[in-house]
Amino acid sequence: MTEATLDAAGAGTEVREPPITPELVAEHGLSPEEYERILAILGRAPTIAELGVFSAMWSEHCGYKNSRPLLRTLPTEGPRVVQGPGENAGVIDVGDGWGVAFKIESHNHPSAVEPYQGAATGAGGILRDVFTMGARPIALFDSLRFGSLDSARSRYLLDGVVRGVGDYGNCVGIPTVGGETVFDPAYERNPLINVMCIGVLPLERLIRGTASGVGNPVMAVGARTGRDGIHGATFASEELDEEGADSRPQVQVGDPFTEKLLLEASLELIERDLLVGIQDMGAAGLTSSATEMAARAGSGIDIDVGLLPVREAGMTPYEMLLSESQERMLLVAKPECEHEVREVLERWDLQAATIGRVTDDGMFRVRRDGVVVAEIPVLPLVDECPTYVREGVEDPEVTARRARDLGPYRDFADDAAVASALRTLLDAPSIASRRWIYEQYDTSVQTNTLQGPGGDAALLRLPAAPRALAAATDGNGRYTYLEPRTGGRSAVAEAARNLACTGARPAAVTNCLNFGSPLRPEVYHQLSEAVRGMGEACRALGTPVTGGNVSLYNETGGQPVYPTPVVGMVGILDDLERRVPSAFQAAGDEIWVAGVTRDEIGGSEYLAACHGQVAGAPPALDLDAAVALVDFLVAAAAEGRVRSAHDCSDGGLAIALVECAIAGGALHGFEADLDLAPREPGGATPLSAAALWFGESQSRVVLTCAAGGGEALAALAARAGVPIARVGRVGGPDCRLRGARHEVAASAAELSRIYETALPRRMREEAGLTS
C-alpha cells in the first residue's frame, strides 16, 4: 500500500488526521522502540486508526508483553487437554465424547469505577469466551477481593459486585456455584473481580476462533457498537470526537437478555455446522477479534467499518475498531451458509451485518465506505508484540516482614483468649459464611448442581454420567505477598485439595494473575516467582494450564494490591454417588486429621484478624505431601471410606473443625483433641498453641468416617504416605476442642450464629438499590 491510498478519515467524514507525534505515541502506551517496530512493520508511519490498533494489540491485556515469557514456563499439556492456551477458552476431555471448556477473566478496573456494571459485564465476557467454543455454559464462579468491610466504599463495592454478577448470571440462566471472597485493606481502592465460566460440549462440536477460507463472509452479530470502553480513553476521546462533546462514557452497560439470545443463537449456529470460526468482541473489540481470528488461520481479513451497525452517529473508524461495547461477536460463516446464518440469528431477534471477507494476503485491511483507513500485516501485529523479560528484586519491606518475630502471638494467656480468637476468626469477613453473597445467585438452575456454594468445591453432574465435574477457585494474596513462590504453589495446591475433598481428581487449571505494575522490579519479582510456584505445583499435581488472563497495573496512588494469582481448577469425580460433603454427617462418626501440623503462623488469617499483622513466612508447601494427600482423598472417596472431608485453610484446624460442625444443613457438635493431630515425623519441633489451633500448615484435611471405619481409612492413608490420626468424635450440641493445654467449649448454635451473621450484619445498611 502506498500513502496515497490511505485516507484516514474515510469517505464523507470531516475528521482530520492528527499528526502522529511522540506524545500521541506515548499516550497510546507505546514506547519509542515499539513505535520503531511499528514503522518497520508498516514501512511507513501509521494512521491514527493503525496506531490505535497497535496500541490495543500490544497492550498487556492482548499482547502479554510482560507476562508472555513467564507464562511460557507453565505446563500446558496432558492427556485430557484438547485445547490449551491461546483460544477463547481451554478445553479438556471428560470422556464419552464430552468436553469441558473453562476460563477465568478479570474485570478489576471497570468494577472499581462502577461495581454493578463492571462485574456484570465481567460475567458476560467470560460467558461469551466459553460459548464461542461451542460449549453450553453450566456454571460461573466469582473470585473477589475487597478492602476491609469497615469501609463504606468496600461495602458499596461488595454490594454492587454481587448484584452485578447475580443479575447477569441469573438472567442468562447460569448458576453461580462457587468462588472466593477475601477482604483486606490491600484491595481497598483496587478490588479484584475475577469470574470463571465452565461449559460443556460434545467434542465433535468444538469450534475455534479462526478466520479461514478465502472469500468467507465476516459477520458482526449482536449489540450495536457504541462509544463505550474505547481504549486510549483520554486522548482519543478529545482529539477524535467529531461532535466535540465530552459525553463519551467509558462505562459499559451489560444486557444479559441479549447475551442469552447470543448464547442460544451461537450454539444453534455451531450445532448446524454453519460457521468456520467465532469469537467474542471482548477487549479491543473488533480489532482483536478480527486480527486474532486471521492470525490463527494464517489468513487476512478485509472489513468495512461503514457496514458495522452503530449506536451513535459520527463514530470514527478509530472508535469503531476499538469500542468495547458488550454483547457483540464476530463470526466467519461457511461459504454458501450466510443466508442460513442470518435466518438463525433473525429467529433469535439478533442483528447481523456482513462487514467483510476473509482474504489470503495476510493483511488486516479496514475500510470506511470503501476507502482504506488501515492496513496492517496480521502476523506481526498479533504474534510479534514485543515482550520483555525484566529484572525482579524483592521489596526489602517484604523481606523484613517475613523475618519479623512472631513470638508475641504464639501463645494465649488463658482459655478465654483462645475462645475469643476463635470467635473473632468465625466473625472475620474472610472466613465467615458467604451465604449473604451466594443466596443472591441462582445456584440450582439447569438442574446440574450436586453441590453448590458452601462446600469445598462445587459439583455438577455431566452428560458423561455417572461422572461429575468438580471445580473451585483459590488464591491467597497474603501468602503471595510474603513469599510469591509459595503463594503460587499454594493457590494450585489448595484448589486441588478442595476438589479432592469431594472425591474428585484434579484435571486442569485456568488462572488469573492480578498484580501491580510489572515495571516495578518488586512487582516483577512477585509475578515471576508466583508463576514459577504455580508451574511447579501444576506439574507435580498433573494439572496443566489451559488458559487464563493477566491483569497488571492493579494499583492506586503507587500502592499495588497484594500479588494475587487466582487459580480456577476443574476435576472429575468418576461416580457422583461417591461424592463427599464437607460438613459432619452423623453423631458417632470418627474425626480424623490428615497431614502434618507444623509450627507455622506466618501469613495466617489469625495474625491478620486477631493481631492486625501481615508477617512471617507463609506455611511451606511440600509438593510431595500435596500430591500424596490428593491421591489419598480420591482413593478414600472412591472406596467409600469417608463420610465428610474438609480442607484446612484460613483459620487453621480449629476453624476447619468448627466449619464442619456448622456449615452443613444441620448442626453437629463434636469433641476433638488437637494434640492428637499428626506432627512432623520425629516430632522434635515444639508446636506453639497458636500454630496448633489456628496455624495454616498446608496439605491438611479434616475427615470423618463411620464409627469403626478408621482402621481402613488409616491403612489407605499409610499406603499413600499421608500421616493421619484420629482426633475426636462427632456428637452433642457443643463444639469441644482442646490442645496445647487449652480448652474451649461452645454450643454449635452459638458459633453458627457468629459465622452466619458476620456478613449480613456488616451489610445491613447497604440498600440493594438498582444501578
Binding site: 469505577v113 462502577e114 456494571q117 449489540a223 457504541g226 462509544r227 463505550d228 459525553s247 463519551r248 462514557p249 462505562v251 459499559q252 452497560v253 444486557d255 437478555f257 441479549t258 449506536r311 451513535e312 461495547s325 458488550q326 431477534d349 440498600a767 438499590l769 438498582t770 444501578s771
Partner: protein
C-alpha cells in the same frame, strides 16, 4: 421555619449509555402494532417530600442526595424539580 416541598427526581440513562430496557420496550410496542415510536428511554422516578428553608435549599439538598445515593452519576443523568406543598 421550614416549608414542605415536593421534589421529583427524574433519572435517565446518560447519553451514549446503552439502554437495553428502553430498546426492548420500543421493540415490544412495535410488535403490538404501535407505529411512530422513534425512541424509548427507560428511567426511574423518585418522589420526595422534604422540609427545607426554601425551594433553593430543597433543591440543593436533593441534588446532593442524587450525587451521593439516589442516582449513579457515572451512568445516569438526573433532573430535580421542586414544588411547594405535598403532592396532590
Amino acid at each position: 421555619m421550614t416549608e414542605t416541598y415536593s421534589v421529583d427526581v427524574r433519572i435517565t440513562p446518560r447519553e451514549g449509555i446503552l439502554d437495553p430496557e428502553g430498546q426492548t420496550i420500543a421493540r415490544a410496542l412495535g410488535n403490538l402494532g404501535y407505529e411512530g415510536v422513534t425512541a424509548v428511554r427507560a428511567g426511574r422516578l423518585i418522589e420526595l417530600v422534604i422540609e427545607a428553608e426554601d425551594a433553593e435549599a430543597a433543591r440543593a439538598t436533593v441534588e446532593r442526595m442524587c450525587e451521593e445515593l439516589i442516582a449513579n452519576p457515572i451512568i445516569e443523568d438526573y433532573a430535580v424539580r421542586v414544588r411547594e406543598g405535598v403532592p396532590g
